[in-house]
């Protein structure tokens, strides 16, 4: 169901600072909203996001209900070597989703 949108430059020079943008489709239900009948809608959010560069963790985030639906996270890293970025989102109700992107560094 859920799907990710990743933006990583395909090529970079060694030592260059690159921006990584990620977007994950998710409702991020806060757990504070009520239906018209007054019942509380249970919380359903992504709680954690991790990015690994060739297996080494370079960025991690803890998310809370105050993050908007379809969480967008962007951050930077130094392009050190060609390889792969692995992204992982985990959340409530057993939600896990992964994505990856390749980069070639000259």
């Amino acid at each position: 169901m859920a799907s990710a949108l990743i933006n990583v430059p395909k090529k970079a020079k060694r030592g260059e600072i690159i921006e990584i943008k990620t977007l994950m489709s998710h409702i991020m239900e806060t757990g504070y909203r009520r239906t018209a009948t007054g019942a509380l809608v249970p919380r359903d959010i992504i709680t954690s996001f991790t990015c690994r560069y060739n297996g080494v963790e370079i960025f991690r985030a803890d998310l809370f209900p105050a993050i908007a639906a379809n969480p967008f996270i962007s951050f930077f890293t130094v392009a050190t070597e060609s390889g792969k970025f692995d992204f992982e989102w985990t959340g409530d109700e057993g939600f896990t989703e992964t994505a990856s992107a390749a980069i070639s560094v000259e």
Binding site: V56, A61, D62, P65, A66, F72, I73
Partner: protein, 159 residues
């Protein structure tokens, strides 16, 4: 002629009064699930412990006036050389008046290259946002920004 004018004015005032009463109800329900400045202080305490938080080096980019609190773009930038022995360890963002005080914790490292993160957040009310950065030497730096929100997020009714 004059009489009918008067009665329509009376009707209008009556309607306006009724609308004001209806409008007041959601404000009361919002207040109930608000984080208090004390909750904000204790959330910050949980992160920084007993350390002293200094002001400066951190910048929050967020629109000062927001129409829709459901998605507010926010960028936090920390001034740091980002070398192997002087870098930003983590960035923590808090709010004052959402139902709970945390927005997000972001863990960077020496490989980040730039001490900056962007995301989109929810704001339930016009309020203060606080960003705290922990540097590699263990020091904490903070900044706050005020945002005015016209349409609140988080607690609205599901239709």
């Amino acid at each position: 002629m004059r009489r009918s004018n008067n009665s329509s004015r009376r009707q209008f005032l009556g309607l306006a009064g009724g609308a004001a009463v209806i409008g007041a109800v959601p404000i009361i329900t919002l207040r109930r699930s608000e984080a208090t400045p004390a909750m904000l202080a204790s959330a910050i305490r949980n992160v920084v412990g007993a350390a002293v938080v200094q002001t400066g080096r951190v910048k929050i980019d967020v629109p000062p006036l927001v129409e829709n609190g459901n998605t507010v773009p926010m960028t936090v930038t920390v001034t740091s050389p980002m070398t192997a022995d002087d870098y930003v360890k983590s960035i923590h963002v808090f709010n004052e008046k959402n139902p709970q005080p945390n927005i997000g914790n972001f863990y960077l490292g020496p490989r980040a290259g730039r001490g900056q993160i962007s995301t989109r957040i929810r704001l339930a009310d016009s309020q203060k946002i606080v960003a705290i950065a922990q540097l590699s030497d263990g020091s904490f730096w903070s900044v706050s920004a005020d945002v005015v929100v016209t349409l609140a997020a988080c607690t609205e009714e599901v239709i």
